[in-house]
Symmetry: D2
Subunit: 346 residues, 4 copies
């Protein structure tokens, strides 16, 4: 067994920084050897902050000049397929951020190539590693609330996404960029695949901010009918402004379970009885999923060291993309859309 994993980070933005920080400060048996970003200012700033000496503006360059076992890809979605495949062909293990790719064909290519070159492929669904979600999933599996009947999963993010993520021509919008986690959570916790979805969207804050991209939306509500007959919903708001909000509620035929809360810290203050109690809220996703981000990187490194497949791979990523595409088709065509329309197009 190897005793250490050397990693090349691809993407020096916000998520890239979170993962770099985890690997440097909270994961043993690994080294961050190089950083890649096409934007040189971002590259320099992040590399300086984390004291990473090897810096490249392309994965090709990194592969040519550096030596590492794995990549962590946090670049925009449209780049995922090519970067993953390039890494896989070079024999590098791949940690890939969500959403996996733009369509199912891309997902299939990534899965195929990582399998062909015998490298691990782990998707960035950190909720699968959050202690609360993990405990909840175990308790549901153990039957604590009986058979799940209805699930509601929401993700509200504080800030406006970047332009490429607002445009259905270059991304799959909020359903993909923000709600990918919810698509995965639904399947995971309900233990059933989705059968059909119906989506309503609105552009409300975006409109005030002058965002007039075709089909842009900042509010989304998805109704879900599962293959096993149960029901669900996903809702998304971005930018919501008020914090980072990710919660799930599930009712089974023997009880209810709530996962997560708005409160970010158990410090309560009141200085004005006309205002009331003040409690910190989760401000950002790295705060909310602090342990999830650490545990998923530990899992990535551990699986490589032990030569085991990760718990969350291409299949999970592909299902989330399928949900996104069905949800998007639904609001574009204003009708319920069956997953089989996406999975097995005529």
């Amino acid at each position: 067994m190897k005793d250490s994993v050397s990693v090349c980070m691809i993407g020096a933005g916000r998520v890239g920084r979170v993962h770099t920080n985890s690997l440097l400060n909270a994961v043993k048996s690994c080294k961050v050897v190089a950083l890649v970003d096409t934007v040189s200012e971002t590259l320099t700033a992040t590399a300086n902050d984390f004291n990473i000496s090897e810096r490249y503006t392309s994965l090709e360059e990194a592969l040519a000049r550096s030596n590492f076992d794995a990549v962590v890809i946090t670049t925009p979605t449209p780049t995922h397929k090519d970067l993953s495949i390039l890494a896989a062909r070079a024999g590098k293990h791949v940690f890939l951020e969500k959403p996996m790719a733009l369509d199912l064909g891309e997902c299939d290519q990534i899965i195929e190539e990582t399998q062909k070159y015998h490298v691990n492929l782990q998707l960035g669904f950190m909720r699968r590693f959050d202690p609360e979600f993990v405990s909840a999933a175990q308790r549901i599996r153990a039957g604590e609330i009986g058979r799940p009947m209805m699930i509601k999963s929401l993700t509200h993010g504080p800030g406006l996404p970047p332009p490429w993520a607002r445009d259905l021509k270059t991304s799959n919008g909020m359903l993909a960029e923000v709600n990918s986690h919810d698509w995965d959570t639904l399947r995971w916790l309900m233990g059933s695949d989705l059968e059909r979805v119906y989506t309503e969207v609105a552009n409300l804050k975006g409109k005030k901010l002058g965002v007039d991209t075709d089909n842009f939306y900042d509010n989304v509500m998805v109704s879900v009918h599962f293959e096993n007959g149960s029901l669900g919903s996903i809702s998304g708001i971005c930018p919501c402004g008020y914090g980072y909000d990710a919660r799930v509620e599930i009712v089974g035929d023997e009880g209810i379970m709530q996962i997560g809360e708005l409160k970010g810290q158990a410090v309560v203050v009141c200085t004005n009885r006309d205002q009331g109690l003040i409690t910190p809220i989760y401000r950002t996703w790295p705060e909310r999923f602090a342990w999830g981000y650490i545990h998923e990187m530990r899992h990535f490194v551990d699986c490589i060291l032990k030569d085991e497949p990760p718990q969350v791979g291409g299949l999970e990523g592909r299902w989330a993309v399928a949900g996104v595409l069905a949800g998007t088709k639904s609001f574009l065509e204003q009708r319920p859309v069956y997953l089989h329309e996406i999975l097995q197009p005529a």
Copy 2:
């Protein structure tokens, strides 16, 4: 100004008992003079419990023999129209439980007759009188969370509804019998009428209990698109078993608001660290809306004494029925349904 209102209770079941109790113990300037129920055991039991001497098996009989100013109608929905109109024509003020009636035609007749005979018509939307909902509504109106963008309202009731309420031939099902409050809450808190709805339903616990009535469902999820462009959802589960659950969450373009909680009492106990903290849940709707039920009766009596119209009348009842009908049509036809299809049928 009169100094007291005498009331005839029509319906001696659970809701009837709650209102009788409020009028007897928590509302001044009123008297409960008679009780009507077609089932003699129920009539006797409730009349004995509350020490009501005048007991009748029909409103006609009560009108003929007794003397009162107002009626409180809590009988099954199919009886609402005839009882309301009979009372109105006799010059009696009407408090009518939700849902108002089976269809919009019935609603229109009730509104017309109560107006014609100059009697008050108040609908049993007690959430409009719950201190938390009232405060929330005021704060939303005052702009505290900005323009409302997305609302989620849920009602989960503990027990299986009676047979007549499970059958679309004799009622409008759970969307009417349980979720009427949510339809009203959506319009009230969002300050907008509904434009279209999409509904998914499931029969999960009912199936296990052997309920095989056509179109029976015990889980429902409604997506809502409002006229002003905002989004919403209503969900219902009955029987949920775990308690009485009525909560609302609203996000505006400047913040989020949560109304209500599962917790029924601020008494927390832990005796076993492997089990955890135990906190009472709201077991029933009279517990959850204890103040709402009292305040709505006070309002009913006050409006009669002051000769003022109640804040929640036929219009609110009619809109809730319209929502129910649109939501039902949606799941029957498996497509989004516009409210105008219900309000102005071709």
Copy 3:
């Protein structure tokens, strides 16, 4: 059995208004027939607000001119003994606010005279009627947390007490005027009398506000050793400014119980992620103990109607006064003080 109780309110201040409101709006089978206050502006204002026609500036005058069954005494503590005895001798049932009196001798006279004249004496410990405290007491009695080992009871009030209540020459200070409830709660929930107490006090906010009355304190911390060997504490802060805060925590040999919370309403708002969640706090004691105040008045009226003794009477009031006196002696003499020093002075 009588079918109605007529009441004369003695004291038109804040507590007097709360009880008047309960009797007028939430308690059946009673009438408020007269109001007494020595301050004519207060008398007129309160009588006008509640539409009470009979107004007197002394109990003597009320007894001479009016006709009633009971009195509700909410005047300052130094008047309690004389008013209670005067009412008792006239055959009127007595509801007496806490603290019962200034010393044990006064308590004994009140108890003796009410017994001699066969009238009910109920003390204003509304926590005994608060649904959460009642439920907690029952669960403790039922053994849910085992044998109680340690109890902490706190009362923090928002505003500065009136001058007479700040001076040990005219009152027993905060321990009596604010913390009387805690003294009673300790005995009630622990099921044991107090053996010794040790008290620390401080004048911190008062000093800033210029209150320099001898022995005035606005912060107090009492350690308690019970006769059965268990431990406890009472803490008081007045004025605390931030709200009305009354909570209890008890640990038994099989678990912990928390009673009450700061939160005043289940309406949570966040509009600024740097500030966090905002939840209403209980602003005042009538808000916190809304049901307690109603139920204690219902109990007072019911006991008179049924000719039964109230659950909370002179004995409970006397024990609370004994605690206050021991606690006060402790901080004056800077040593632990035994209750028997107060109960059986040498």
Copy 4:
């Protein structure tokens, strides 16, 4: 600057395992090179679990045979002084668990020797590194609740302490072994030293379990008067059974702050409305202070790497011991005890 710190763990018990785990899995730039324990089974078990190859039964042996920069001492209190001094004289940096030592003389020797040999001395007050406590302290310093007037700090631990920790002949009992953190928290958050204390104790659960050691207590309540005139209390219960409970409440002249809560995870379940909501509680101190334990080890390693003194050193440890001694003297002599009686004995 060094780029890594090698550590010898002294003590292979529960706390030793927690620190070893932090150093191995969550702290970069450090190595655990050796483990010392006098009990060979414990030594072997822990060394095996963490795959530590160098194992010694004494610090002397470790110093003779191994090579390291620092020690982490988690052995019973009576060993603290000798082990710390031995390590210091060998030039090793010292992380020392609470309580620092048995008396002030021992504290002084430890401080003196670590200073003389220019090694760092960090005390195991992990609450100083808990994100909630840190944030709370900053907000208090920033004046958010005004001038602190009253603080209550509690620590309740689940299990019965080992025999040596129950006996005042070999330890300072629960006030030292469990409540050391509270003594430190009081000074830290109030920004004032303690002036006098009064302590009540009880042996309740211990008695049932047959613990009859002289002066053993399992419940303790300490009243505190600070030098700056403000008030406080410390309470301790061990074994409490129901979980690990560490909370603080502070009231300042402008508001209240609550730090910590019983709830261990934001996963709420209800399956039975007669039972209510169930929420996980913190079961153990490693769960409650997961981040605190990691951050204090990071701080220990960082300070050594940067050649800086730790934020929590001998002075803080000494003050906590002084509090313990005053508190113990108080209950033994049944009177309030001034800190100066301990700090400057006659």
